[in-house]
């Protein structure tokens, strides 16, 4: 088996193992939470008989290990259980929400990733000169301000004063793509500002590191223009670290949007999670946790795979 295939298989197997371990952690975490699910469903006035009945119905009397494997078996078959609060099937409810979150994350990524890389390239081209300094200052300032503050300022300026975009970003199936995009323009803009700096700084640092190499000098002595040197000779060798940080930020776009979704009352996973945490709806919290973990591990696994594939020594062995 070629080395590269072996490395990829290893990496994917590790990702799956990690996901399995995380599922144990999530399950254990929700078990050691103080309080009793049955009590919280039925309220303080419930009779002991009713509580005992509900516990039996929920399977809470079984040992934790057995409950874990029941739960895991269900998850593997696509059954995430039913919500304690609403009695709805969680998979159906999450499917819709997850789609919305992905929609938001997708458009934020489509804008922020190329923009961050382009800004990084420009910063390298004009390093230590004013374009570099302006880019660094603006992106660092935007990452330093808490995202909810940016969100509220944006709502105040763009929605309330200028009336360009709505502040409540509820989308539904009857809207056209254009309407949807207009509706989510503010959260997308805020998310872009939040993730831009990290990716841009990494692009700049990774490429500057490569710019010290002898082969960049060779390119200069071939008479190439600076931007071509950066794009054709430096960038391909800086892909691995850049992809890593891009994937971390993409994961953040999916997993970390809780605050933004709540601020803009966007019907995504984040809001769904926050709603059900406050209702002590354990199965929903477990399902959301597992999906977030899967997204996180999956995207980082993609980053690792890209790094492996981007290495010419592994792609073209001797």
């Amino acid at each position: 088996m070629p080395l590269i295939v072996k490395l990829l298989v290893q990496r994917i197997a590790l990702g799956l193992l990690l996901l399995f371990l995380v599922s144990i952690l999530i399950f254990a975490g929700t078990i050691i939470l103080p309080g009793d699910v049955a009590q919280s469903i039925l309220g303080q006035s419930a009779t002991p008989e009713a509580l005992a009945n509900l516990r039996r119905d929920l399977g809470l009397n079984e040992p934790p290990v057995a409950r874990y494997f029941n739960w895991l078996g269900g998850v593997l078959q696509g059954d995430l259980g039913t919500s304690l609060a609403s009695g709805q099937d969680i998979a159906t409810a999450i499917g819709k929400r997850l789609g919305n979150t992905m929609f938001l994350a997708f458009w934020a990524a489509i804008i922020s990733v190329p923009l961050a890389i382009l800004l990084g390239l420009i910063a390298v081209r004009y390093r230590e000169r004013w374009p570099d300094k302006v880019i660094s200052a603006v992106t660092l300032a935007s990452i330093s301000v808490p995202e909810f503050l940016i969100a509220y300022v944006a709502i105040f300026v763009v929605s309330v004063r200028l009336r360009w975009a709505p502040s409540v970003t509820t989308i539904n199936d009857s809207m056209s793509l254009g309407e949807k995009l207009h509706t989510i323009s503010l959260p997308v803009a805020v998310l872009t500002l939040v993730v831009l700096a990290h990716m841009m700084r990494m692009t700049r640092a990774a490429i500057l590191n490569v710019m010290q190499s002898a082969y960049v000098e060779t390119a200069e002595l071939k008479g190439l223009r600076m931007f071509n040197i950066i794009w054709k000779h430096a960038f391909p060798n800086a892909v691995a670290p850049i992809v890593n940080v891009v994937m971390l930020n993409m994961a953040y776009l999916v997993v970390g949007v809780v605050v933004i979704e709540v601020v803009f009352t966007y019907p995504g996973m984040g809001q769904y999670l926050v709603d059900h945490v406050s209702k002590r709806d354990i199965p929903v919290v477990q399902a959301c946790g597992l999906i977030f973990a899967a997204v996180y591990i999956g995207l980082n696994m993609i980053a690792d795979i890209v790094s492996i594939v981007a290495n010419p020594r592994l792609r073209h062995p001797k």
Partner: protein, 546 residues
């Protein structure tokens, strides 16, 4: 200024910004008014030691300054125009079109993420000299001319898929592909093994002759430059020392500095007789690195006598440094034993006692990284004195001064930091540190390879003098046969993990030779005009005879 001179450099001055520790950054001049010219189709050798400004001057022919280096004065005329006065657009057309560059390390100068062919043809296509198809045809032609295997397909490979010598030839093809008027060769064979160097040298020489291109050939090795140049310019610390034809410089040097360069390697050393009791006996050593299934050392047997020098010579990958790792215990051997000073040494480092460690010291190739940059010379030399002998205070200081005196450095160096020393001085401090332990054996791993010839000469003389005084034995690892001739008592020639020839110096260096030793010895450049052609002609005759 329009005559047939291709390159004309007038009173070139080059400056750089330096950042000395503890001082404000300031500008210094590193080339002080150098003038020379190159006619069409001629080769000018630029020669000097490190710091002479050779590369800096070579790159000025492309109006390029490396790092913080800047051309501060003078004129550089290429094809009838002063390139220091034309604009950036014109300079870009010049680079990669009229003037091209071959660097010392092709391995670093090729982009690891792109195929060789793309990189070789890039400049020619960019400068509009050829279409992609024409450029690729020309590249294949050049690959064939430079003696690369499978010229049709080698361009499809990535840089890491070809050997160092092959990549250096690819770099030459890269430089020749756009049909330039001038190529700057910057130490193109320095990083190669001698047996590889001779082939690359011949390939470059033939390519220059066949394409009629002119060249600046930069090197510190006068014997190499004598083989390829028409004229030679000798440089020292940014000044011109001597400028003349290759014949005049080699056979009739006028300046004292040039004479010193020509006559370097003046050391001679009489071979000593073996003693009855060797200090080091390496018996049947076989070793491999962890996680591999390939023996890097195969059944090695050598002996070293007290106060004598065993030179272990071979090319990169021959296993000579691995042998040192086995003897020092860094790499436990699979089989065999190391018998040292009347006892068997434990195969791994953890099993050796203080006395074993003290009596066996090492000196390394890169003195720079072998010393803690934050310790003074006094601390560095004082460490083994504390560790092995428990010396303190005045006693320790006196011994440090004694050692500094032995390495011909004064007491004033005791409070200096490594960064304030020259390359030769750093290596001397490393020698003093090894001697401080009063060892019976010092392993010297390529200790002069990173040094300029004259400085290396000084180090070798010092090592020989110290051997007489301290009666210490050296296991001297090197790829350089001239060094071996200068200092060895016995020699082991290594090739692919085996000792292929072993014995007293005179025996090893006298015919009849085995094939490998013959190849190795005949590949060492000699300071003689026409040497390269003679060797190649001899080899062709021999292979025809077989």
């Amino acid at each position: 200024m329009s005559d047939d001179k291709l390159l004309k450099v007038r009173d070139l001055k080059i400056g750089a910004t330096v950042y000395p520790p503890g001082e404000k950054p300031h500008d210094i001049e590193i080339v002080h008014g150098v003038s020379f010219e190159v006619e069409k189709g001629k080769v000018l050798g630029l020669i000097g030691e490190s710091g002479a400004g050779k590369s800096t001057i070579g790159l000025s022919a492309m109006a390029y300054g490396r790092g913080g280096v800047e051309i501060t004065g003078g004129e550089v005329w290429v094809n009838g125009r002063d390139i220091l006065k034309t604009g950036l657009g014109d300079i870009r057309a010049l680079r990669g079109g009229e003037v091209t560059y071959v660097s010392q390390s092709a391995a670093a100068s090729f982009n690891p993420a792109k195929q060789i062919m793309d990189q070789v043809t890039e400049a020619a296509i960019l400068q509009g000299k050829f279409s992609k198809k024409e450029a690729e045809a020309r590249a294949i032609e050049l690959f064939a001319k430079l003696g690369l295997p499978d010229p049709e397909n080698i361009g499809n490979r990535y840089p890491h898929q070809v050997s160092g010598g092959q990549l250096q030839r690819c770099m030459t093809a890269l430089a020749l592909c756009p049909e330039p008027d001038l190529v700057v060769f910057d130490e193109p064979t320095t990083a190669l093994d001698v047996t590889t160097q001779i082939d690359v040298l011949m390939a470059i020489k033939e390519a220059i002759r066949d394409t009629g291109v002119a060249a600046l050939y930069i090197t510190h090795d006068l014997a190499v430059v004598a083989q390829v140049s028409d004229d030679i310019l000798v440089l020292k610390m940014g000044d011109m020392v001597e400028y003349g034809s290759v014949d005049q410089i080699i056979n009739n040097p006028q300046e004292e500095y040039t004479q010193a360069l020509v006559s370097v390697r003046s050391i001679s050393h009489e071979e000593k007789e073996p003693t009855p009791e060797p200090v080091l006996k390496v018996q049947n050593i076989t070793a491999r690195y962890k996680g591999t299934n390939f023996d890097v050392l195969k059944n090695i047997n050598v002996e070293l006598h007290p106060g004598q020098t065993l030179a272990v010579v071979g090319e990169s990958g021959s296993g000579k440094s691995t042998l040192a790792r086995v003897i020092t215990g860094l790499l436990p051997q699979k089989q065999g034993r190391v018998h040292f000073a009347g006892r068997d040494l434990s195969i791994d480092l953890a099993g050796r006692d203080m006395e074993d460690l003290r009596e066996l010291q090492m000196i390394y190739q890169m003195a720079d990284v072998a010393m803690n940059p934050r310790q003074t010379v006094g601390t560095i030399i004082g460490r083994p004195l504390e560790l092995y002998f428990g010396l303190k205070g005045e006693e320790k200081r006196n011994r440090i001064i004694e050692l500094l005196d032995e390495i011909e450095m004064g007491v004033e160096f005791i409070d200096r930091y490594p960064a304030e020393l020259s390359g030769g001085q750093k290596q001397r401090v490393c020698i003093a540190r090894a001697l401080a332990a009063k060892p019976k054996l010092i392993i010297c791993d390529e200790v002069t390879s990173a040094l300029d010839p004259l400085v290396a000469d000084g180090i070798l003389k010092l090592l020989l003098d110290l051997q007489k005084v301290e009666d210490v034995a050296y296991l001297f690892i090197t790829h350089d046969l001239a060094t071996v001739k200068a200092i060895a008592d016995s020699i082991a020639v290594m090739y692919q993990g085996e000792v292929v020839r072993y014995g007293g110096k005179t025996d090893v260096l006298s015919p009849p030779f085995d094939d490998y030793t013959d190849l190795l010895l005949s590949s060492v450049p000699e300071m003689k005009l026409g040497w390269l052609e003679d060797v190649i002609a001899n080899r062709k005759m021999e292979s025809a005879g077989n």
